[in-house]
């Protein structure tokens, strides 16, 4: 039972991370920096609780806000850059963050930051955040900014010519995405009780991409599904655990070949809705 709970909690944290990648992704910004923002949130909140005695919730929020601010900072040069070059820029940022923390003695440098106060019922907090995010994304879907984000992701130039301020929209998506990643980091830190820079490397950032791409890119349920399933399955099949990363790689390729929109698509949602209608 305890084991199931811990797995569910980790899955919850990864759902938050997947959603943090998804938001800028809607606007066409592929970010490998989310692991870096997670680190900022993790360290930021850990310093608050472990060193300054600030309670959990404000500390996690603080971590998120700092991540969001840095997201804004990174988001500005990111505006001009597309596709793989944005990938590289965000990758570089993530690496810089990691290097900074490796050399940052106040938070333990390469040896890591132990002694973070464990937060009981972390899982509850994680899923509370997910609940809030679900509300956020579903409201976003049928809103002015939501349509603007999708439009920018489809055809940025056309969106701009139709009156969308793409600069502010992209920045918004990027910084809020970083904020969400920071929150995820904060929750993560107070569950692990110990963090070190290696936990926030590039390969983890890539994992979040895999969750989203596999889960589905057309609607926010996709990343939730992807993160949940891909975190849970390795736990239950030890064989998968060892080859987890390779399987992720294969999944990415296979999805691109057979179903690029991911497992959960608009058609999936429509089919589910039809099922509910029939059940009435």
């Amino acid at each position: 039972m305890d084991y199931l709970l811990s797995v569910a909690t980790i899955a919850g944290i990864y759902i938050i991370m997947a959603l943090s990648f998804y938001l800028p992704f809607i606007t066409g910004q592929i970010s490998l920096a989310q692991a870096g923002f997670m680190a900022i949130g993790a360290y930021g909140s850990a310093v608050c609780t472990a060193k300054w005695g600030i309670p959990y919730v404000p500390a996690v929020l603080f971590g998120g806000v700092i991540a969001g601010v840095l997201g804004f900072v990174l988001g500005v040069p990111a505006l001009r850059i597309k596709g793989i070059y944005l990938l590289l820029l965000t990758l570089g940022f993530g690496e810089i963050i990691r290097v900074v923390f490796i050399n940052f003695n106040y938070v333990g440098a390469a040896e890591g930051f132990p002694g973070i106060p464990y937060q009981k019922y972390t899982g509850l907090y994680a899923y509370a955040v997910i609940f809030i995010l679900i509300i956020f994304f579903s409201r976003l879907r049928n809103s002015r900014m939501g349509r603007a984000f999708q439009a920018i992701g489809n055809d940025e130039t056309a969106a701009e010519v139709l009156g969308v301020n793409i600069t502010s929209a992209k920045l918004m998506a990027f910084s809020v995405g970083a904020f969400i990643a920071g929150i995820g980091g904060g929750i993560f830190a107070h569950y692990q009780e110990y963090i070190e820079p290696l936990m926030f490397g590039v390969m983890h950032a890539v994992e979040f991409i895999v969750f989203v791409i596999f889960g589905g890119i057309q609607i926010f349920w996709g990343p939730i599904f992807g993160a949940f399933v891909l975190t849970l399955l390795p736990e239950f099949f030890r064989a998968i655990q060892e080859w987890r990363m390779e399987i992720y790689g294969v999944l990415l390729i296979v999805m691109m070949i057979i179903r690029p929109q991911g497992v959960i698509g608009l058609d999936t949602i429509q089919a589910i809705e039809k099922l509910f209608q029939k059940a009435r």
Binding site: I30, P77, R80, I81, G83, I84, Y85, L87, L88, L89, L91, G92, E95, I96, V99, N103, V202, M203, V206, I209, V210, I213, M245, E246, Y248, G249, V250, L251, L252, I253, M256, I257, P260, Q261
Partner: protein
């Protein structure tokens, strides 16, 4: 001292050039930025390493063998991960190559371990004395081999039927198809050539750094992409020159600013940002227009 650093810069730069040429060739025919190209270089390093370890063959046999092996790897990657993709999702190739990167890097860690492996002495390094300077023959050899490969490549592209086909496909798949070019095969061949070049670069990286780890893929991926951007997308000559420029610049930065932190990598990021902001078509102009 200056001459030594110059040789260092040229040596580093020529490996960058070889990688960047591969990127630019693939971008030319597929408008794809092949994220996994750096991992192909890494594979080349290890293949060269193990060929020498197991057979003790000299470099002039090992290098072509490694190139063939890496070229074959490139063909497999194209066939399995690029060719079957749907054409309608423009992010599909990029994401697929990220998948390839994950697979190759993690496989390498499983097979070769996460720590560096020492690259055996593959060439007798005789050190030359020119005046008061000590120059390693290994380094000069690398520069010479790289330049040779680049010249051969240039010849292939400019003068042979295959090269013409590659240039046609770079212009337009549709038009090339109408002209009777087997576009799929040209893409395959391009991948093979690009990967073989990366393999050569990989072997030379092994020789010059004396060690190989599974993680050099990402580093060279970044450097190669920056060089490609520097030289202009699709511009092979630009990639050649751009690589040398970056190599020399990095060596210069090590000499001028001594720090423990790896400023070189951040250096390339900095250059990338500058180019993207001020001269997105590269120093020498891109030969293709982006989608």
């Amino acid at each position: 001292m200056l001459l030594q650093q110059l040789i260092n810069g040229l040596m580093l730069g020529s490996t960058y050039s070889l990688v960047a040429i591969g990127y630019t060739l693939i971008f030319g025919v597929l408008r794809l930025l092949h994220f996994a190209h750096g991992e192909v270089l890494m594979a080349g390093s290890f293949m060269g390493l193990y060929i020498i370890l197991w057979t003790g063959l000299p470099l002039y046999i090992t290098l072509p063998l490694a190139m063939i092996a890496t070229g074959a790897l490139g063909l497999i990657v194209e066939f399995l991960a690029i060719r079957p993709l749907r054409k309608d999702f423009h992010l599909a190739p990029l994401l697929s190559t990220i998948g390839v990167t994950i697979i190759l890097q993690n496989l390498a860690v499983k097979i070769f371990g996460g720590y560096g492996t020492k690259f055996p002495e593959a060439i007798k390094t005789a050190d030359f004395r020119i005046g008061p300077f000590l120059i390693s023959s290994a380094k000069i050899l690398i520069v010479v081999i790289s330049l040779f490969l680049m010249v051969v490549l240039f010849f292939i592209i400019a003068k042979t039927k295959v090269g013409r086909a590659m240039r046609a496909v770079s212009e337009s798949h549709v038009t090339a198809g109408f002209l009777g070019v087997n576009v799929d095969r040209v893409v395959l061949v391009t991948f093979g050539i690009a990967s073989a070049l990366a393999g050569a670069a990989g072997v030379m990286v092994g020789i010059s750094f004396h060690a190989v780890t599974p993680f050099i893929g990402l580093t060279f991926a970044l450097k190669g992409l920056v060089v490609m951007l520097l030289g202009g997308l699709g511009n092979v000559v630009g990639a050649m020159i751009g690589g040398l420029i970056l190599g020399l610049a990095e060596v210069a930065s090590i000499v001028i600013l001594p720090t423990e932190i790896n400023l070189q990598d951040i250096f390339s990021f900095g250059i990338m940002i500058l180019i993207l902001i001020f001269k997105p078509t590269g120093l020498f102009g891109s030969r293709v227009t982006e989608g």
